[in-house]
């Protein structure tokens, strides 16, 4: 296997709440709790989870937009966990982020030419007309045109703004893009346009991508491999086709069965695994397997140790001790997950 573009080992991100005068002793919120994974150059890794699972925190922590509490992040072989601010600024040009909210992620006071031009400036200054040409190129690449140069973000529709966000990310020719729910705020018909754009661009320039979403269908569509997160931990990771055809972890199964299917005949026929209750607080997660409080297959032993990962097939791992249901062989090496 080629060397990974991004390699994350034992990543933790804990938030301590400092609100209130006397709350110093409150437990930290374990938004990300010991997560390891890697992304190969040109690979699309999907990250699925519900709100509160920590998936967005993973995205921002690997870019060090939020500082990790512990663990290591290697980007292109270089340990960037502790990289100084100056080095980080250089590296950020090679790793970009596309946000969910097409309204909040563009500076409302800047024109399109400035929003994208600013990003271009980071690669070194260009003569005025060359810069303009390059901006127009980028706009065309994402399906907009040079007519849009002088406009402000609020003059665009949601889908067009998301195109602008993508153009801005592409301007610095990144090697990795973190796409954090890039289409969640868009209408279905526009979602499809943006998804196609992402797939095309990803293929064209071979950029690696961490695609974060709560929508299993979209992740299945775009990702090569899929990770499922629950309460700060990865419960299952597998090649996309594998995980949908053959989910092992009870949470993955429940998630897949809960996702509505746009087919009324199928919807009426199938049996759903209905999960009881809701996500526990990440400030006070259950012991052992964090999913056990909602798991229909939980045993008393699930409350014990944190479950070790088991390997069921090539690249397919999960963290459930019910070997009778989920199967697989226990693995000790954390980094085995990455391959």
């Amino acid at each position: 296997m080629t060397e990974a573009i991004l390699e994350v080992t034992n990543l933790r991100k804990h938030y301590t709440s400092t609100r209130g005068l006397f709350s110093r002793g409150s437990a930290p919120v374990k938004a990300v709790d010991d997560v390891s994974f890697s992304i190969a150059p040109g690979e699309v890794l999907g990250l699925v989870g519900e709100s509160g699972s920590g998936k967005s925190t993973v995205g921002r922590t690997v870019l060090r937009l939020h500082e990790p509490t512990s663990g290591t992040i290697r980007f292109g072989g270089e340990d960037i966990t502790k990289a100084p601010a100056g080095r980080m600024r250089e590296l950020r040009r090679e790793m970009q982020i596309v946000f969910q909210d097409p309204f909040g992620s563009l500076n409302p006071r800047s024109r399109v030419s400035e929003i994208i031009g600013e990003a271009l400036d980071l690669l070194g200054s260009l003569p005025r007309d060359q810069k303009r040409d390059r901006v127009v190129d980028l706009l065309q690449q994402v399906g907009l045109s040079g007519d849009h140069l002088r406009r402000f973000p609020h003059e665009f529709s949601g889908g067009q703004r998301q195109r602008l966000g993508i153009a801005r990310a592409l301007a610095v020719r990144p090697k990795l893009i973190v796409a954090d729910e890039p289409v969640a705020a868009l209408d279905v018909s526009i979602q499809a346009q943006i998804m196609n754009l992402l797939v095309d661009l990803q293929r064209e320039i071979g950029v690696a991508m961490l695609f974060i979403s709560h929508d299993l269908g979209l992740v299945e569509f775009i990702a090569d491999r899929v990770m499922v997160m629950y309460l700060g931990r990865i419960v299952e990771v597998a090649p996309a086709r594998d995980i949908y055809a053959n989910p092992r972890h009870p949470y993955t199964k429940a998630l897949l069965s809960a996702a509505p299917v746009a087919d009324p005949r199928l919807a009426k026929r199938r049996e759903r695994i209905l999960l009881q209750g809701e996500l526990p607080s990440p400030a006070n997660p259950p012991s052992g397997c964090t999913f056990r409080t909602r798991c229909p297959f939980a045993l008393p032993e699930c409350a014990g140790e944190r479950p070790a990962y088991r390997k069921v097939a090539d690249q397919h791992f999960h963290a459930c001790i019910r070997d009778d249901i989920a199967g697989g062989e226990e693995v000790r090496e954390v980094m085995a997950l990455a391959t």
């Binding site: 519900e50 709100s51 870019l63 937009l65 600024r89 590296l91 950020r92 040009r93 970009q96 982020i97 946000f99 969910q100 909040g104 992620s105 563009l106 500076n107 409302p108 006071r109 800047s110 600013e118 990003a119 980071l122 402000f152 609020h154 529709s157 889908g159 610095v172 209408d187 279905v188 018909s189 526009i190 979602q191 499809a192 346009q193 998804m195 196609n196 797939v199 709560h214 299993l216 269908g217 299945e220 569509f221 086709r241 949908y244 429940a254 998630l255 069965s257 809960a258 509505p260 299917v261 746009a262 087919d263 009324p264 005949r265 919807a267 759903r272 209905l274 999960l275 809701e278 996500l279």
Partner: protein, 627 residues
Amino acid sequence: MIKHTTLIFAALFLTTIVLLAVAAPMLPLVDPVKMDILGRMAGPSLAHPLGQDEYGRDVLSRIAFGARASLGVALTGAILAALVGVTLGLVGAYFQGWAEQATMRPLDVILSFPPMLLALLAVTLMGPGVQTLSVILALLFAPTYARVTFGEVLTVRNQEYIEAAKALGHRPTRILARTILPNVAGPILVQFSLVVAAGIVLESGLSFLGLGVVPPTPSWGLMVRGARPFMEANPLGLIWPCVALVLTVFSINRICDAMRDLFDPKASAAVLPVSRLLAGTGIGRSRARPAAPAAFDGTLLDIRHLSTEISTPRGTIRAIDGVSLQVKPGEAVALVGESGSGKSMTGLSVMQLLPRKVGRIADGEVWYASRDGQRTDLAHVPANLFRRFRGREMAMVFQEPMASLNPVYTVGFQLIEALTAHGQMTKRDAWDGARRMLERVGIPDPERRLNEYPHQLSGGMRQRVAIAIALCGDPSLIIADEPTTALDVTIQAQILDLLEEIQAAAGIGLVFITHNLGVVAEIADRVVVMYCGQVIEEGPVDDIFHNPRHPYTRGLLASVPRPEDMAGQHKRLSSIPGTVPSPLALPPGCRFAPRCDHATSACVVAVPELEAVSANQNTRCIRWKEI
């Protein structure tokens, strides 16, 4: 056009004053310090257009030269204060931590002193004079700038475009100056205008006390001070400097307001006439009221050709245009469409919950069959009588339950309120009733939950409470507007099951408004697809999903990722090109034509009619037979 008149006046006045101040030494004015004892307190004359003061000095020339001192002090003071304050505020709020302590705390110390005391102290140390005054102003007003900036930056710094700038690898200085500063400029400009005004007043005050500008140098404050003892004999001497002060302060405020709007790219679009907002509220229902359809034909809700208009600053929008749909008891009808399709407006129109003043039903009828068999046209029920229907006959569930639950009351209180709104009952009964409602919507440990506040519940629980409240009046119709959109899939599945169960048990008619086709497939019996305010297709759920006739319905269905689209081979979602047209500029003819692959020249001629495809399926496409 009052807005512009005052602005033009303000600009003219300020320019005049500034020019007067700058050019005062070059103008053929009388020497402002030259006394003329004989002309003491003389009224206006040709030689002295504004009269003479208590020493016989020319008032006009003193106003002009006084503007130099007054404006000079106020402007330098305000600019100095802005430079210091804004920088400290930006740095403090952006970096936080120790930077916040280092920048904001010293300013708090300054704020804790009475301003006059501080001014006295500075004057004692530095001696009176124009420079001292500027420094004092800067010192006094820097903290207010810093506070304003600090607060604004705190809200802006968490915006994603700041993170995007960081992610691009910009330096903090550049992010501060180029990205954040323009976004906080509005309030700072307003602050600037206030400080300049306050500065002029403060200068006058201090000079009046003898701590500011040293006589005989003229300043407006000194003029007031000089004229005060003689104000009965010579009121004009007091009035002139005061008029200059008031008009200057006003002009500066007005211009800064205009500048703030100018810097906000969004504001420029809104400067269009708003007069239409006021036009036609409740007028225009000229059509004769049709008689109620004779027999009860089994429909619970029968919407006929309903049109709703919304006035916006840019013109009136027909948010829904001739929508007809029927709901039978126990039937779930899904209203599907993208944003702007009018699906939510349809629900709000039926419930008479359109935004006040701007929204109104322009046309059509909404027949509703009450439990007693009576049929009423809800579109023509006056607002004060409508209360009879809300809650008891029909209820609404919204997307964001936090918006429909009152955050300051407990769940129990709100449920009891909903229960007692429709009939008297004892406290005990009400409490039991509330508990039963929570049990009915599957909330574990209802006794405890009754005493909790909405914010203590999770999103899914809140939505259950909202449904419980909707059920309190035992309605026959529930309109649910995207009730699961804000929820996670596993919670969404729970809520959908709950709604289905309740609906089946009580025979409630359900109008389910959503954009999610998966949800539609799960819950709906019949589907109504909307686009740009019109129904473009309707039919039983199976027919809509498996035999869609309208190209838009097809496109929408094809946009949902399916197993066939996946992995390897082609990896392509079929998408609908373009975007939904603006409701202010709807295309002629078929509204979907500009985005339709099958559009022909015939499509743009007239809006197609809803045609029957089969006994229960209708579509609004002139080419449905061919495609």
